[in-house]
Symmetry: C2
Subunit: 99 residues, 2 copies
């Protein structure tokens, strides 16, 4: 399993337009081969993080290069994001607990 941790800070006033694209990308990514899960979280200061799980690095590359996603990435850089940070990693240790 490979995790993508995508942290981003949006420019002011773009939330409405951004959420339309974000929803489209959320629907698209879930159709990609090797997709496991994706979820969005927001911090108190507005920073966002998307945590996306794929079966393999190849699956991530295919998602990264999907034509619609490339267009969305460009719009992100041009219109929506103030800054973003991507970490790609394979967990060396994972555990889940039901309390």
């Amino acid at each position: 399993m490979v995790l993508v941790i995508f942290r981003s800070v949006l420019r002011e006033g773009v939330d409405g337009k951004y959420s339309v694209i974000a929803k489209e990308m959320e629907e698209l990514v879930s159709t990609m081969p090797g997709f496991i899960s994706a979820k969005d979280f927001t911090a108190a200061d507005g920073e966002r993080v998307s945590i996306i799980e794929f079966e393999s690095e190849e699956a991530i590359q295919a998602w990264y290069r999907h034509p619609d996603h490339l267009i969305a990435q460009q719009r992100g850089r041009d219109e929506f994001y103030k800054s973003f940070k991507v970490d790609v990693c394979t967990p060396t240790r994972s555990y889940s607990v039901q309390c």
Copy 2:
């Protein structure tokens, strides 16, 4: 750099008590050798994620075993969490963009 991705779902009605402990742990972790950063995010459905960066696996182990943190972990399992999931990983690829 090593990332800890700590996802959790709280039981109902515990937010107030939990936030006191969470704040104490946030202050404590920032004093640990090898600590880089920590930030909390919340999803629309209430799931939380803390993303914590340390310099090394040894630094994480020291944090995991800090006596006050062990007590907090036990309270978490007994009182606060419905479920939680921990992933520890070293990014194989990272990049930051200022747009």
